[in-house]
Symmetry: C2
Subunit: 434 residues, 2 copies
């Protein structure tokens, strides 16, 4: 038979079991933190109708989408969890309780050109709070609080939330007499990557003599309270004042929700580029690892589902790109502390006659709360120990003729090679105490 | 703006949060049981290359597959978890420890015509044990043991494993001088649905005068030990004897692994149709709900990955179709006992001035181990209580001017409407004791 070379498609994550265990641990810590904060789970299909996915229209999105071939109704794989959320909330509107706090953890698909750090299939872990008609500004502080707890529970390096407000920025541009701010926002968003000098050069092309004023505004540094104070001294438009009030409140409530002041940085150069955010915007950095870029981003939007519903559904959300984050943490060599032995103890029957006795013994170890496994294959003793070595198990329990007759077991320390015949209870006690 | 009617594609599962919570609970019980039994997690991409998915060739499969449109390399959505497992084990062969015990829980895709009980996207929960070259017959008992524990931990109705052996059947047909048994196996497999009479009629078309002999063989009834005894009295071919020995051992070891005899039924009419099984085959029924069909099926195969590897990789596995099972259990009205209150206590600040005090109070409830939430929206009192009612929360904690001044809270019983001002600690104690 012809052998097909076994390989995955490019740009997807596939882990060996020892890494999969750590990935799953991260995922479950994230999920538990969402649940503790009273966010409800939803799970939407991987495939959605094109009329849903592309309702907004959008050139870039359409190019990246994975479409299903040959179906009579056009459908594709979801490229984020936000469009499915908009569809879900609209479809099930009358069955939901608003504000609707939901989380969704799942894979999304983008037909990206394959390059390092870009994935075609990757996990997103999203929380959003959706209001019916209105949504209080408290939620803009609640969302980062949950994310703060996530990173705390993950035992990751400390995070810093960079927060800003789109209304504040747009209001500021209005005050300068600038009407169309889309290009400016896009340029500002690059500052973190390209630095002040290049940002200034780009701004000059767009707004000429206003460029220095804009750069000075977005690069204000200092304690959060100082920046807020400075912003209050500028007499901006109504939009500006609205944005400033929101920013103040979000900052104040984030602190009230228990996020330390040191983990919050009012950063007027954060804009979230061209996204659909209309108020608060966030990016999140791991202290000491700012080069990784934002590990959790999001913001406030005025209306989630204008394409699917006549209801106005304002919301605020944050999203962790877990696949990328996992590889980053792995590349930094930070995974080791999450690795725990999968198996505490391996029972090795010395011949098939002792398998049933071995099964009994294994069961006793399990009842004692130890992670026990048993090797039931026939073969040479060497093969059995090779299995134990590959499992990296610290102790083996040998059961053969001598042990079965005496109703005992031999406990073997795999590091030292010491092996002693003893009562099962003693073996359990010894392993538990180590 | 034009409104697009929000709806999912047909044939997929999408749940409201209260059902999603139960589904997730089932999923996590299944996963924990797999882990406790030392099965390792793997997760493969949803999309695989067509050369992988279709390596076996196969008309039916190819028709049902969802292909990705317009990609230069042909690729499609996985239609089961077994082909990806074969690819995974072949690709990562040198990094795995054999026997390799793995589980995978994930969604698979089939372009089925939409009809009740058929899903285009559905969850499979698979366990398989893969050997390198050889795999002991003990594993054929270990797999159902794990599944037995799954259903026990799910607190479902008791299960019965119907077990059989393909070698035994094929050996029996050999003894009758029948060479090609594929058609006969297919007919026998229908017996559970169509009954003895129709089975006999179909068999008559295929094997004429041997039909009664075959029907008599496959419909042997009695205690397991009796059937094994009767089978021993038939002098079959070498294959027959091999199959009989395996069946005996699997039965014996299933009992040794702790499955009660009453949960095992040697059933010679179980064949698993046209699947690639070569030894043990299983179907699993919920006692009293046999009409649902098998809720977990599988068997032993001689070589998992002949298309991807020169290594011989025998295996044995079982698979739970969780999406279908979930809907069946729901239709039977059995979900209620799994529903738990998502929120124990809702804090209701009576005006924005009391939000921060409310946040403090909520935090105290959380620290006390209660699932607390807070309603921070502005609006009328009626709206706040409507939210609490929809949440079906038993108690609310009211914080307004009086409570904030006194540093106390008002505990409101949502059933009786009774409301009392008290110390926070007392409120926590009262709720915990109820």
């Amino acid at each position: 038979m012809d052998i097909v070379k076994p390989s995955t498609i490019a740009g997807v994550m596939e882990l060996l079991p020892e890494d999969q265990l750590v990935f799953n641990k991260f995922k479950s810590i994230i999920e538990e933190t969402f649940l503790e904060n009273q966010f409800l789970p939803i799970e939407t299909p991987l495939i959605e109708k094109d009329e849903i996915l592309l309702a907004k229209g959008g050139g870039e999105t359409e190019k990246q989408i994975y479409s299903i071939a040959g179906s009579s109704k056009k459908m594709s794989l979801r490229f984020d969890l936000t469009v499915p959320l908009a569809r879900y909330v609209s479809e099930h509107f009358s069955d939901l309780n608003f504000p609707f706090k939901r989380y969704q953890i799942g894979r999304v698909y983008r037909g990206e050109r394959n390059q390092k750090g870009r994935y075609r299939e990757f996990y997103q872990c999203d929380i959003d709070i959706i209001g019916n008609g209105k949504l209080s500004i408290y939620n803009d502080a609640l969302a980062p609080k949950v994310i703060y707890q996530v990173f705390e529970n993950l035992d990751f390096p400390e995070v810093t939330f960079h927060i800003n407000n789109r209304k504040l920025l747009n209001g500021f541009f209005e005050s300068l007499g600038l009407e169309d701010s889309v290009e400016i926002l896009r340029t500002i968003d690059k500052r973190g990557k390209i630095g002040d000098e290049k940002t200034l050069a780009l701004l000059e092309e767009e707004v000429e003599d206003l460029s220095e004023k804009i750069l000075a505004f977005i690069s204000q540094e200092g304690e959060n309270e100082e920046i807020l104070e400075a912003l209050s001294n500028f007499e901006g438009s109504v939009t500006y004042q609205e944005g400033l009030l929101e920013l103040k409140q979000v900052y104040q409530y984030m602190v009230a929700f228990g996020i330390p002041n040191s983990a919050i940085k009012i950063d007027l150069s954060i804009t979230r580029g061209l996204d659909y955010y209309t108020g608060t915007v966030y990016e999140t950095f791991l202290n000491g690892y700012e080069d990784l870029g934002s590990v959790c981003s999001g913001g406030r939007y005025e209306n989630l589902a204008s394409n699917f519903s006549k209801n106005t559904l304002p919301g605020v959300g944050l999203s962790i790109g877990l696949t990328r984050l996992f590889y980053q943490v792995k590349d930094l060599g930070l995974l080791d502390k999450y690795r725990k032995p999968f198996t505490d103890i391996l029972v090795l029957p010395m011949g098939e006659d002792y398998n049933l006795y071995g099964i009994e013994v294994e069961e006793k170890f399990k009842e004692a709360g130890l992670k026990a496994d048993i090797y039931l294959e026939s073969g040479k003793v060497k093969k059995k120990f090779a299995y134990a070595d590959k499992l990296a198990v610290k102790y083996c329990i040998i059961v053969g003729e001598e042990e079965a007759k005496a109703g005992k077991v031999s406990l073997r320390d795999m590091e030292t090679g010491d092996q002693d015949l003893m009562d099962l209870d003693l073996a359990i006690e010894k392993i538990k105490n180590k």
